[in-house]
Every structure is written in structure tokens, then in C-alpha cells.
Symmetry: D2
Subunit: 338 residues, 4 copies
Amino acid sequence: MKERELRIGLVGTGGIGRSHIERINRQLQGGVVTACADPASEFGLSIAEKNGLKGYADPMEMINDPEVDAVICTTADPYHEQYVMAAIQAGKYIFCEKPLAPKADACKRIVEAELKAGKKYVQVGFMRRYDRGYRQLKEAIDTKAYGEALLLHCAHRNPSVPDDWDNTMAVENSMVHEIDVLRWLLGEDYATAEVRFGKSTSRGPKGLHDPQIMILTTKSGVRIDVESFVNNFNDYDIKCEIVCENAVLNMPEPVYISVNTKAQKGQAMYTDCFQRFEEAYNVELQSWINATKEDRVEGPTAWDGYACQVAAAAASKARDTQTIVPVVYDEMPELYKA
Amino acid sequence: MKERELRIGLVGTGGIGRSHIERINRQLQGGVVTACADPASEFGLSIAEKNGLKGYADPMEMINDPEVDAVICTTADPYHEQYVMAAIQAGKYIFCEKPLAPKADACKRIVEAELKAGKKYVQVGFMRRYDRGYRQLKEAIDTKAYGEALLLHCAHRNPSVPDDWDNTMAVENSMVHEIDVLRWLLGEDYATAEVRFGKSTSRGPKGLHDPQIMILTTKSGVRIDVESFVNNFNDYDIKCEIVCENAVLNMPEPVYISVNTKAQKGQAMYTDCFQRFEEAYNVELQSWINATKEDRVEGPTAWDGYACQVAAAAASKARDTQTIVPVVYDEMPELYKA
Amino acid sequence: MKERELRIGLVGTGGIGRSHIERINRQLQGGVVTACADPASEFGLSIAEKNGLKGYADPMEMINDPEVDAVICTTADPYHEQYVMAAIQAGKYIFCEKPLAPKADACKRIVEAELKAGKKYVQVGFMRRYDRGYRQLKEAIDTKAYGEALLLHCAHRNPSVPDDWDNTMAVENSMVHEIDVLRWLLGEDYATAEVRFGKSTSRGPKGLHDPQIMILTTKSGVRIDVESFVNNFNDYDIKCEIVCENAVLNMPEPVYISVNTKAQKGQAMYTDCFQRFEEAYNVELQSWINATKEDRVEGPTAWDGYACQVAAAAASKARDTQTIVPVVYDEMPELYKA
Amino acid sequence: MKERELRIGLVGTGGIGRSHIERINRQLQGGVVTACADPASEFGLSIAEKNGLKGYADPMEMINDPEVDAVICTTADPYHEQYVMAAIQAGKYIFCEKPLAPKADACKRIVEAELKAGKKYVQVGFMRRYDRGYRQLKEAIDTKAYGEALLLHCAHRNPSVPDDWDNTMAVENSMVHEIDVLRWLLGEDYATAEVRFGKSTSRGPKGLHDPQIMILTTKSGVRIDVESFVNNFNDYDIKCEIVCENAVLNMPEPVYISVNTKAQKGQAMYTDCFQRFEEAYNVELQSWINATKEDRVEGPTAWDGYACQVAAAAASKARDTQTIVPVVYDEMPELYKA
């Protein structure tokens, strides 16, 4: 027989929040979003009504309601800290969309709250760790059959971006995913960050450096280059080529039929991140529900959220100063060591 | 808020039955297997106990219990008819693994029971219709952008088979999937069937014709060849190449990373049908749960189950006589016309 | 230092003849076309003048001229026999475009002329044996690393054909290449031939069966199917999939860059046989020049030419009668045994 | 009729020289190596004798012999200048293997000799410009259908290198090919060069930085990264991915059959530069012979040879100093403008 379902309260009822409600209540299992709220109270209440959920004018009230077992936070980034803190205080597991908080020191405060509680409560929404391709790459590296990873050549390509996209966002909105997932893939922290510009496309917004190249090195010396090209007027494509001592590994191709017509043979490519990472989003949230019911955090932790923002801040500084910037972390507390 | 879950009683607690319990109760949504039974009463009861389900010594009692909303039948093939009939009698939706029944006339009796009830209750477990690759192929054909389909070249390849596999099973266990899915893909019935043998592998059981080639033609003249090679000591690979007037369409490649090492570049292939059709099985059963809760049959019907067995019988006769055998169906009742 | 060049007289100054003149005199090495002629005397003389070659009104005179070391025959098929016979009589090596002669008995007369002369003089223009892809396939099979070949799935696809193309030509002009090259690839003769029709494309000439499927079996039981589809309004594509006991082998892809644009990733395909087999034509004729200067025949022999026409005749009869027709060869004379 | 063959004298009878003799005298057309010599006189004479060529103790004598129409220089790099100068003096076309000379100022002296003669005589042996893949990439870019090239991601991978390979050679022996061919591909000069190190493989010689990454920018701002990894114990693989405003272009795959066995599907990769660029070497030298007979230089000129060494020197300095070094050329003389 099925166990009792996890009752989830979601704070932040914008696009991504609503897609998580949909996902959990229509596709996943073992959990149900029963309540929602938003920093904009009226908005949160209206979404609650439309979806037949219990609405709360005050998100804090929802987080503390005993009928809510666990929390999802999908608000705008600057609100994350307060709701995550509230969940920790309430002793409830919380899934917080990335970034954990915009600044590393805010992330650090969350880490300290967990340390004080003596327990991990937070999973950060880095869904790429749940992608089949990245998982296969990690397995292949972890076997050591191909020797050490030496170089990674990555790309984050995207058809177009909203008008308010600026030069900071290649690092902070797109390549931040690589910052997390490659650290997980390689199992080590970064040493330096650097951001360089290529020739800019004439098709993007004026004044935008696009593409941008981020170069990271790890503590052991692995060199990573990541191309972010967000106005390619083409496809959504995530590349990750790993040059090992004895092998070169690459991502699977998109899952589309091949079509040979008009003397061309080819296949469709993905066009947005939801097509590309649909399965990863499902596996991520299912995994969070399962782990929560088993009273543990299994995915990316608050420390991972902190580590990501430290490297992102270094990359941002590197971009602004056009220098190579060291990535300096605090020491990892025992709680976060496997 | 989530709706009430569909309470499912499953009859036939062998391997495939248990995997469906697992799938529904651990991965899918909106339904829950609450009860089970098996023609071998003791066995069914023991599985019930192990899984925390309500057990019934008599499957018929379970089917008729008002606490069971819908039924899944995963018994050995010869038992299908009686349980499907019982579900129709009880006015309950039933998902029956393929084949609906071993013989076309048994399938026909089920069709007639539905006709008498004036309503469809049965979905047959042809999971390939839910496979992403086949769906993309069907969409591509249905657009007519590539002209009419003229030829299909298919293959059903498998590493090895159990010892009791005999010469009838290439048609009846493996290519029967193609018989259903290609009829659905092309949207038309078959006209003739033929089965021919290639040179047999030295690696299969003695006396087995393996590979075998089945050739089907449709009413409009499309010619299909299907290779069944079930002892390839290699991979599980399902090919479906569609030669249209202006294009050639092929299945997506397996979703594995590429590995370039030792001067070879390649990727893994699937090795069994559960790897290959994992997603299709999930989508199939989720879709059945959803449709059932909306009080309708959406997937392959009892008529599709009948039509498949008519063609399979023709192919079997063609194999035994080494002649071309016409495929002759009864007229399709109104109930099954879209 | 280079040796003296082979002086070649070419008979048959149509398209393929002129392309061979071009090829030999502009790209290859060790031979030079010095003379030409055509059954249509005036035409032959005019081509000679345009190309700065010695022209002969009478091809027989050219063949017998001591200043001609070797002969190429590229006339219309029915003329092949007489010129090949003349070259054998004159004791000169001759490269004759395929087919050696339209009828198997004419081919047999050529074989007998060689037997009488006690020496091979003839190479038949089956250029596919010189194709890199087929050679790699043959090497892979010959290693026996993948077990016996069991099934071959082949296709010969072509954008469109001239108006005078009729139902006999799928076998006699297109699949005749497979008849030769697959016999060479597998190293054995055919046992039976069969030709079947698929649904015909609406885009070809009225009354044409296109595509057609030829099915050949070899003496050891290998089963081959060859699709000929000559009005695909798409590409020129030669498929050859070999299903071995432990492996499936396929042709290399065309050599074109990949282009990822408009959310499609793909590459160009070949559009005619000269693009596709450009390298094979060069290797074939270079190999003939080299072997001729070393006083031997290395490529497809008159016996191969005969064997091909025997199987083609069986396939043609099979097509006309829609039956399975045995392929019956005379016994191979010692002269042609390796 | 064929024209008279170009009589070629070759200086430098080491491995590459002998392979060019072989290539020209066995495969190409319209030219013949009739004479050879070597700075080591005895060695040159012995090669001449073995190959039936006229030998000269003094290369200068050969270059000036009226029976030699044109010259090929394949000596060790430091000897190039003097023989190229001698050929220019003698008014003879010369094909000189890359680099034209080790230092840019030596290249410049050759350029000045041509300027003084008022005519181009020199073709430098950058064979990649004749590779089918690079030519297709250049055509694709030149159409402008895909917008401007913005980024190039290249790699030069190689199984292993001789013991005397040192840290300077990644730029000077391997990536120097990219320096030339990418300048040609993009049709513009470089602005800056930079060389960085990745984590080094444990499988190469001690003390070697391998892989190395060279970063070039062009005058218009295109950013190029080139990975040189010369001890990959795997394959010989040349990557060139071009990120355009609307498309991503990549090299063709190697021309090998696909093999699906043991649940892996893949194909062979090249293992050395002669396999990889066999066709390019042939086309290059054939093209040189043809152009020479038409009294013109068509391929990479002395100026290209100079431009390459200027950029290579900048890259070498960048490597040694770990800084970004500007690439500064003299002004291109009229003679070299298309």
C-alpha cells in the first residue's frame, strides 16, 4: 500500500513555482502540494484558489502550519534566505530553487543555521545533477577506466533571452549551472575563475557581450572552459566534453528521429531548457520527496549552494576586472562531509 | 488538490505483474494498486502480503469487490479472456497485457461483450504506442510533409532467449509488437503476411530458425519487412526505418554518452526491453490511469487486440506453410471507429 | 623514374567514356588515353579531335593498332561483346564497363575466348569493389571476428531517373551493382532470386513499379534484400547493413560537415553516383592500369561478368513471373579460380 | 593528349621527401620527380640510386640544372631558406614544406626576394587547406548563410610523440597547422596569442605540459581556442567547431564503417596524420603541379609562410611569459593581395 503523501507548501507562485505544482500534483508520486503563498499576498491567494490549494496571505504562516510537512521555495532570489531560514527554524525540509541566495554570505548564514540545528534541511534546485547525460558522465569518470579528467569543454547555448538580460547574467543565470554541476561531476572545488569575451553576435541586444567564455580551474588543475551563447537564434544545447587521459567523453544526442530529406540527413535539437531537462526536473523533485519522507537530505546541500555562489562571485569579479580571480571558500563543516 | 486515487486490483502476480505494482505504487500518480490475486491462489496471497496489499484467493471476488475501481490483468495469456470478461461484466475498466487472448476468436468474444455493454472497457498492453520514437515517427508521417509511406524496414534484435523458445515465438512473442504498432503507425489494416527464414545463427538453440523475416503488406500496398533476431549475443535494438515518397525516417539513437577511446568512438546500446521501453511503460500506465479516471478508453482497444491476433495467426500460418497468407478481418463495429 | 605510360584506346565516346578519358588524362597515373573511336564513326572522330587524341573511323582498326597497348570499352551494352572479343583476339587487356554483355550467353562466349587463349584479358567495370566502405565491410567479414554473415539489408536510392526508365531497369541498371558486389563481399554464389514490389511512389513515371525489392539467397543460405528506389526526390544513398552472428555492420556516412542551424543538426547527403563513387572510379581505373602494366588481371573478371548476368537474368525472370527463380551457373573453369 | 610532364628536383630525402617522391611518381599526374639531392650528399645520392632518379651531390647544382623544371624542398627546417632562395634566383617554382623557415625574419627575406623578382615562386606545404572538411567549412562560412563566425573551438589530438618532444612543440609542430589554416578559413590576420596549460596527463614524458591550450584572437575579434593533446594514447583527431551567429559547424566524421557489437555501436578513428590527411596531401601536390605548369602560384604563399611564423613566435612568447602577446605583422605587399 502507498504511504501517506508528503504535504507540501510552496512559496513563490510565479512560473517555475506553478510548473512545480503541476509536476508534483500531476506526474510525481508520494507528495502533494496542498498549500501555497507568495510574497505578493494577493497573487499567492489567487493561484491557490485556481489550483484548489489552501492559500495563505503570509508565507511564514504557511511554513509554520503543522499541516504542511515540507516546503518548496520558488520566489525571486532575494526572498530565498528568509523563507529557508523560517523552514529550518520550523524544523521542516525545504527545496529551494537555485541560487540558494544571491550572495555567498547569505548562503553562509543558512549553512550556519543548519549547523546550529545540527541537521541538514535544505536541498538546492540544481537539477542538472539529475540529468541522465551528466550522471553517465560522472559514472564514467568515477570508474577511472579512462584516467583522470584533464580538460572540460562546455557550452550553454540558447535561442534568445529577455530584454532585461545584461552582461552579468551569462555567469549568474546560465553558467551558474555549470559551476555547480561540474564541481559535483569532478568531485572537487575550484581554484580560479576567469571570464573572457568573444566577438559578439550582431543579433543580440546592443551592448551585450554574447558569447562569453568562463574559464575555471579546479584545485587539482583541471581546466574548464564554458561558452555561454544565449542569442544563437538556433537551439538550446548543453555541451560537456570531458578530455580524460585516455578518452574523450561527450553528452548523449537529443532524442529525436532522424529525417533524411532534400539531400540532408539530420534531427531536431532542443529549443528550451524544459524540453532539455524535463526528465531531470522530474527525477530531482521525486528524489527530494522520497528523501524527505525518509528524513534526510540527499541532493545538493546548502553548502553546495554556498560553494556555487563563492565561485560565481569570483567569476563575476573576473568578468568585471578582466583578470584571473582566485576562488576562496571557508572550510567545509563536518555536517556536509559525506 | 489531488483527486482521489484510482484503486486498482491486479490479477496475475508474476514478474510483469509485480513490476506494474512497483511502477504504479512507486513512480506513477493518481492510482494505487490496493489489491491483488492470482489464478494460483496461494501465490497471489503471498505477493499481497509481501506488498501490503489486500489479497484475494479468488481473482473473481477481487474484480467484483466495490473497493476495486479498475483492474489490471497480467496473468498467463490463456487466462486473460475470463478476467477481462469478468471486468466488463462488472463494468470496470481493465488494462490487459498483450496479447488480449492467444486466439483471434477469444478476442472477438471480448469485443462482442463490449458491444453488448455498449461501451469500451479494455486497454491492451501494447506499450510501444507510447514510445517517444514511435510517436515522433507517427507525427512525421501524419503531417504528410514527406509524402506517403511506401516501405518499412524493421528489426527486433535481442541478445538471447530462454531455452523453451521455439520457432513460433518470433512471430508470437517478438514481432507481434510490430504487428500492432505498425498498424497504428500507418493507420491501416494488413492485407497479407509472409514469414521467411535467413541463414540461422550457430549460437542459438538447435533447430531454431533465427533470424526470421516477417513480411506484411497493408491494404493500401505498403510493404513492411521485420527481422526478428533473438540470439544476437549483442544488444536489444528496435529498428523502424520508414521510406516515404520524399524522405527516410529512422528511430532515435539510444540515450548514452559517447566514448572515444582506443581509437574507437561509440556509445552503449540497450540490452533488454525494460531499458529500451522504460519510459513507454510509464507513459502507458499513467495514460491508462488518467483515462480511466476520466471514464474512457484512450489506448489500444479490444478491437486492436483482436486485429493483432488475426494478423499474427496469418503470419503463423504463413510461417508453417511457407506461403503468402491473406489477413482477413471481420468488419469493424461502430464502437471502435474514432 | 616513371615507367613508360600505358597507351590506351577507348571505344565508345559517350558520357561515361569521356569521363574516363578525363579521369585518366587528368587525374590518374601511368596510363594515357591516346586514341578513341565510336561505333558511330563521325561522333568518335569528333571527340578525338576535341580531345587531341588519335581518332579512328573503325574501332576494330584502333583495337588492332600496335600503338594501342590496351583498350577501354564504354559503348552501349550490345556492342561490348564484339570489341571485347577483338581485344582478346589481339592479345590486349580490355576494361569493359558493366555489364560485360546484356545476356549471360554472350558473357559465356567471352569466357570461352579467354579459355581458348589460356589467359585472362578482361576486367569488368564493377567499381563498387573499389569503394572504401565495401572494402572495410569485406575486411570485417573476412576476419570472422563477428561470426558468419546471416542477413544483408541493402538499398539503392536515387533522386530521379530518365523518362525511358522502365520496370526492368531496377534490376538491370541499379541492383545489378549489388548482384556483383555482394557476391564478391560474401565470397559465394547465389542460389535463388526474387523480386517484389512495394507501394509505388506517386512521383515517378506512370506505370513504374518504384520501389522494387530484390531478394537473393546465397548457396550457404545468406538472405539479402535490396531496395531499389530510383525516384526518391531526395538523395543518392547506398545502404549495406550486414547482420552477422555477433554484430551489425553498416556503411560509413557521407563525408560532409555537420551543420546545426534552425534547431536541426545534420549533414548533406550525396546526390549522384559520381559524387558517391568518385574515389572508387579512380581507384578502379588506376588499379586496372597498374595491373595491366604488370601483365595481369586483378579486378572483376569475365567470369564475374558472366556470373552477374546469370543472377540478373534470374532476377528479371523472377520479377516477370513473381516467383522465386533458382540461379544456375555453369561450372567455374580453373582459369578463374584464385 | 597529355602535356609534357613537369620535371621535379627534390631536395631533402628524409621521410617526408621520400613519401612525396612516392606520391608523385606513383599516384599523381602531370609531374615526375626526376632528380634528388640532400644537404647530406651521400644520403641524397643513395636515395637517388634506389629510386632510379638522377642524383646530385650538391643540391644547388640540381636546382640550377635546366633539366629540372621545378623544385620541392623537404629538408630540415633550417635549410629551407637557402634552397628556396636558390630556386627564386633560378626563376623556378618551389614547393617548400612548412614552416617556410623557423624564424619570421627568414621568411621575410624570402618574401623580399620574390618582391625583387616581381613574381611569386613559392608554395608552402600547409596541406590542411586542401582537406575536404576544412574546404567545406570555408565554403559554409563564405556563403554568409550562417552569419559571422564568432568562436572557434579546435583540437589537435595525437596518440603519442617522440622522446625529444618538448614544451615548445605543441605550438611549433602541432598547432602551427591551426595557425595557418584558421587564418585562411576566416580570411583575416590575428591580433593576439596566448598559451595556457591544462592539468598534464600522467602518461606523457616527465615535465611536459600536455595538453596545452592556445588562444588566438583575430583582428575582427573572433576568439579561437585550440587544444593540443599529443599523448592521448587514443586517436589522431582534428576538431574544428565554428560557432557562427546562427549555426554551429563541425568537421566530418572519419570514413569508417559502423560496428555494433557487444552492446556498443561505434566506428574506428584515425590514428595518424597520414591516414587523416592522405587525400589532402594528394590534392595539395597535384594542385601545385597543375598551377606550376600554368605558370602561377595558387596555394599558400611565402607571405602566408611569413604570417604563420609571426603568429607562432607570438604564441611561443605568450607560452614562455604566460601573458597575452600581440601579433604584429609588417604590411602586406601588393604582390600578395588577391
